[in-house]
């Protein structure tokens, strides 16, 4: 009953003109940025993060959540219409979505992805509401356990999400190190500031996130000389009952798959959408139509992606651990407004917590309402020269970085971060661990130092004195062994002669 009462309270606060306006603005901004070729939800949310500074905690979170959903749908539009996925998770949508566009059925592909996304997001929302009860369990966790859980989440993200473990670890380490710059929170001793007073306050998360995730995307597109020329026909933006019937199974399976994969910290969205696609191909009556414009090939992965996006909030809200780059950026939006997601959010500020949860559903509904009627507007947006889009985006990012502290050092840091992000992309170093450790680094160090103080400097007891820690580190060891085994067997397999 507490849950339902909390949710009702949240909806009563969200369903007022001001929050609805922020949700609307967020959806529009999200779709606008998501439509920029190659821009995914993480780049879009990073770019628009400075907006969170100028609004209060609740409006900024509502807007960021709406930006997230809007940019996801914006990415779908570019995947379907011009075969440019906003992020890796949307690559699979290109396969059948773009084929449908070639057949003049782009409107149908976009409509079914909007419907699937709405259903997936709504069902996952119900799961999210009831999963918040996990936070009551998490209230009793101390610094040792929180340190262990954070290490576990980071290890999953670094180890399971990408091919190269070593490069992932380097990325995570660099993110942690950026968080060390500035005054030590306990002793006020300067760390790694090189005597520069501008660095005494530390390096702002937003500035680095804009650079590494947003600016690097644009610089990469420029270096790759991406030119977009869309002059195709969208067709009618609607689906028939027959299409809905054909896609019902894909939407149902996509919802379940996305919800459960989103619960795991570090579960990559790309793996979920690819699994969904393979699942649909296996269940299909006519698997030979896949790759030639099968509607299930769009409905399944898009539903999975949105359900996963919603259930990704569960580890964030219940434990305070972001499970993806976008969630790390949203965590940043919480922290710059003085909120700390996690179990204590429901204890200290239940109103805010439930308002945020309710706003997720409102953003989902708003996106569904706006997506289909406005498809032609977003399509027209694709006809704006890419040059102008990139130029406007770079200008917005630079001014956004400056506005964080009204200091040129932040602009410089953003550009350096952009170039580092570009180098990381070129060298196949994943940026997700860096973004996550940027946010989690200070929390991790804080818990580490508290735990050391509690255990009076005994590092062995810090690691193994509680049952929760033993279980977590034990599981981590097992996963590490599995990873090493898969790497070993994968190498053996790749060295075998190719027969297929």
């Amino acid at each position: 009953m507490d849950i339902l009462a909390g949710l009702a309270g949240g909806f009563s606060l969200v369903l007022t003109p001001e929050p609805l306006m922020y949700a609307l603005i967020g959806c529009v901004l999200g779709m606008l940025t998501g439509v920029i070729p190659g821009f995914g939800p993480s780049a879009a949310t990073a770019m628009l993060l400075p907006l969170a500074f100028f609004l209060g905690p609740v409006p900024s979170i509502i807007m960021m959540a709406a930006i997230y959903y809007g940019s996801m749908y914006g990415g779908t539009i570019t995947s379907v219409l011009i075969n440019v996925p906003g992020e890796v998770a949307s690559v699979v949508t290109c396969i059948d979505g773009y084929e449908m566009t070639k057949q003049g059925q782009a409107g149908k592909a976009l409509a079914i992805s909007a419907i699937g996304s709405f259903i997936g997001g709504s069902v996952a929302f119900v799961g999210l509401v009831f999963a918040t009860s996990f936070s009551q369990f998490a209230v009793g966790l101390g610094p040792r356990e929180l340190f262990a859980i954070t290490i576990f989440a980071l290890a999953l993200i670094v180890g399971l999400a990408d091919k190269s473990l070593v490069k992932g670890l380097v990325g995570a380490g660099v993110g942690l190190f950026i968080g060390f710059v500035g005054l030590d929170p306990l002793t006020a001793q300067g760390r790694f500031t090189f005597g520069n007073p501008n660095l005494a306050d530390g390096i702002d998360f937003i500035v680095v996130a804009i650079g590494v995730i947003g600016l690097a995307e644009i610089l990469d597109s420029l270096a790759m000389r991406t030119v977009i020329d869309f002059s195709g026909n969208v067709g009618k933006v609607r689906v028939s009952w027959r299409d809905l019937k054909d896609s019902a199974g894909a939407i149902t399976r996509g919802t379940g798959l996305g919800f459960f994969m989103g619960l795991l910290p570090g579960s990559p969205a790309a793996a979920a959408t690819f699994t969904s696609y393979m699942l649909e191909k296996r269940f299909a009556k006519h698997p030979e139509t896949f790759g030639k414009g099968a509607i299930q090939g769009v409905a399944g992965p898009e539903t999975t992606n949105n359900a996963l996006g919603m259930s990704n909030y569960i580890p964030l809200l219940a434990l305070g651990i972001p499970s993806s780059t976008t969630m790390a950026i949203l965590l940043g939006a919480f922290t710059i407004n003085g909120l700390q997601p996690g179990p204590l959010l429901f204890v200290k500020s239940p109103d805010i917590a439930w308002t945020i949860i309710a706003s997720l559903f409102v953003a989902n509904v708003m996106l569904f309402i706006m997506a289909m009627p406005l498809v032609r507007v977003w399509t027209a947006f694709l006809k704006i020269p890419t040059l102008a889009l990139y130029c406007a985006t770079m200008g917005f990012m630079t001014i956004g970085a400056f506005s964080v502290r009204n200091n040129m050092i932040d602009v410089l840091i953003m550009w350096i971060a952009g170039l580092v992000g570009l180098a990381m992309k070129r060298l196949d170093v994943p940026t997700a661990p860096l973004a996550l450790t940027l946010v989690l680094g200070p929390i991790l160090e804080q818990n580490f130092r508290r735990a050391v103080a509690i255990e009076q400097g005994d590092y062995f007891r810090l690691l193994f004195s509680s049952t929760v820690c033993q279980v977590i580190y034990g599981t981590l060891c097992v996963l590490l062994l599995i990873k090493l085994w898969s790497v070993f067997t994968g190498r053996k397999r790749s060295s075998a002669p190719v027969t297929q």
């Binding site: 075969n83 690559v91 070593v166 306990l186 030119v227 020329d229 506005s403 040129m408 103080a453």
Partner: protein, 210 residues
């Protein structure tokens, strides 16, 4: 025409530099990046030790950074060794291109196609070199003119087309941003007071409505 020739000249230099780099396989990105990270992590480890590793029964300011920098040093050493071993190994066949990348050649695209050029390494080198100009330019001419010069340079050398259109688009967009920042009380370095000038101009044009 002059700008076009200059752009071609820069491209020629950078292509030559790229070709020289290709003749020296040890100068690959993995080796350079891993060495750089290794050197930095050793430096930061030493700095962390200087900050202190133990503070009685509590962790000192340098404890956690020392642990992390040691971890980065180990990982970057493994990365470096892996990159050096790869130099000896025969080349692996290229991976299949992603659906987004596997598209038509330059200038031969139909509706909805994406055009991506080949290696583009020289453009990355140019991006790095050109970005070094950011800070000195900002301090002397202000943020908006700096962005104008920077973005125009990028589009002239990289996009190599519609230079005058680019200049116009970039100029207009940046002037809008300068005005927006002024109205939003974001006071950027602006020695020429562009934001204020646009504000005054708009005020006089609209009879004080803006």
């Amino acid at each position: 025409m002059v700008i076009d020739r200059m752009a071609a000249l820069v491209e020629g230099w950078l292509t030559a530099a790229d070709a020289w780099r290709r003749r020296h396989p040890w100068l690959n990105g993995d080796i350079i990046a891993s060495t750089l990270v290794l050197v930095l992590s050793v430096y930061f480890f030493a700095d962390s030790v200087r900050l202190g590793l133990s503070n009685g029964q509590q962790a000192a300011p340098g404890t956690f950074p020392a642990l992390i920098s040691a971890g980065i040093a180990i990982c970057s050493a493994i990365w470096l060794i892996g990159a050096l071993l790869k130099l000896r190994a025969p080349d692996e066949p290229d991976a299949a291109p992603s659906p987004a990348v596997a598209q038509a050649e330059d200038g031969d695209n139909g509706a909805g196609d994406t055009v991506l050029s080949e290696s583009a390494n020289w453009r990355v080198v140019f991006l790095l070199a050109w970005s070094a100009l950011l800070l000195p330019l900002t301090e002397t001419i202000g943020m908006v003119p700096m962005l104008f010069v920077y973005l125009l340079g990028l589009f002239v050398v990289i996009a190599r087309s519609a230079i005058w259109k680019s200049a116009l688009v970039i100029g207009v967009v940046l002037l809008v941003f300068a005005w927006g920042a002024y109205e939003g009380r974001i006071y950027m370095p602006d020695p020429f007071r562009l934001g204020r000038a646009i504000h005054n101009l708009l005020s006089s044009l609209t009879g004080g409505a803006i």
